[in-house]
Subunit: 231 residues, 2 copies
DNA sequence: AGCCTTTGTGACACCTTTGTGACATGATTG
DNA sequence: CAATCATGTCACAAAGGTGTCACAAAGGCT
């Protein structure tokens, strides 16, 4: 079983079930954290980075749907994949979970294999659509530590360079104008010249070049820049 | 029920079920197309754009999983959300679908509401991943990145060349006078000689020729130029 | 064929965009 | 407070895009 480096938060108040989930996810190579109530879950979600949330619908303190609603309203977690676990079998209840923003649900009791498969599906989906952690084959970004791994070797970037790379890697191949980059990387309200983007791109490239990956930050003349994996 | 302008392809060989799905999706404001076998599905997927695919696991001609594998291997459809419908209830079978790249599955018989909710969840996820591309069979234009693909191979044009090609490709076969081209490509207020169009056409041709597509930009003597796919 | 018109072609100059290194400034660290 | 670091800006260099011209080639007419 390969390691995935994905960190999954399990919010579940029944210890046996929580442990069961944990065991299978660990076996599938995931890192896990267990939490048994909604309030603690919110705190954890604010402080740490997770790649997926497994949420029991019935938990003490807050109901699962409340946590979900809160989650979706926060910028940081608004796109976090959520797998909801529920003992309720009524279809309309499950539907309600989906409509509230859960990405999938699983009814109790569940088959461990199905759990693992659903988790894998959600994680796979998040690679192409989400803004959490991006791997291309060669370059891996770790949002929390602001670290970049190129072919496994560590490369530390300055904050701006990191954010710039991150932004472009979110949509590989897509071209970003300097204005767009200023807005997302520097912030809407910065009084920085567009040429500053060029300078930062250069500095970013310089770092990547020393790891043999200079070509993946490309200039699109007259328009802007883009990230593209080399063939 | 609001309209979503999303186009969903339903691949399902049992008419009553296909119709059932269609009715509910239409009610939810989606546009739908039904197809009853795998081969036709592939053709439709290549020619048209869909926002989501609902795929029955058991269909004539090809098995659902084959279509899925094929789909994921194609650039154009590699990120298309897929909801797999299956009569199989064995967990491991469903798991296999997910691992093959389906984004979700639904067991028959299913609740219509659940179908609609799952579709909504998948569509919500995929927002913003697709970009407008204009294709003829051999030549594909990507407006965003100013890139042109000829038979899949990348060809990057200069801005003017791109705009020129784009303009002519919008109405294939139609002849454009130099004046028209100056107006749309260069802008109404440019002080450029008509012969400049010729020069740019030449440069455009040069690029296309190196990809074996020089003939599609044709001269209409005394009038102007046109784009025409070669037979 | 001979002549004229239209289009193709390559060269060149000019201007715009981008790369690059240096430097100043302000923040952070110890 | 000194040293280091991140970053914004500038000036200059390099690269790239485009307009124009002169000439060649092609087409059309009598």
């Amino acid at each position: 079983m390969e390691a995935t480096d994905k960190h999954i938060l399990i919010v579940e108040d029944e210890p046996p079930i929580a442990r069961l989930i944990e065991i299978h996810l660990k076996q599938a190579g995931h890192q896990t954290t267990i939490c048994d109530n909604g309030l603690d879950a919110q705190e954890l979600l604010e402080k740490n980075h997770y790649d997926l949330l497994i949420l029991d619908r019935m938990i003490p303190g807050k109901r699962g749907l409340d946590v979900l609603r809160w989650l979706r309203s926060k910028e940081k977690t608004s796109v976090l994949p959520v797998l909801m676990v529920t003992a309720l079998t009524m279809t309309d209840e499950r539907v309600r979970g989906l409509n509230e923003g859960a990405d999938d649900y699983l009814g109790k009791p569940f088959e461990p294999d199905e759990l693992v498969a659903r988790v894998a599906a959600l994680l796979r989906r998040s690679v192409s659509t989400l803004t959490e952690t991006f791997d291309s084959k060669l370059i891996q970004l770790n949002e929390e530590s602001m670290e970049v791994k190129v072919e496994g070797k560590l490369l530390s970037l300055r904050p701006l360079e990191f954010k710039l790379l991150q932004t472009m890697m979110e949509k590989p191949g897509r071209v970003f104008s300097r204005e767009q980059l200023l807005d997302t990387v520097w912030g809407m309200d910065s009084f920085v010249e567009e040429r500053t983007v060029d300078a930062t791109i250069k500095r970013l490239r310089k770092e990547l070049i020393s790891f043999g990956q200079g070509e993946c930050v490309q200039t699109v003349r007259g328009i802007g820049y883009r990230f593209q994996e080399k063939a």
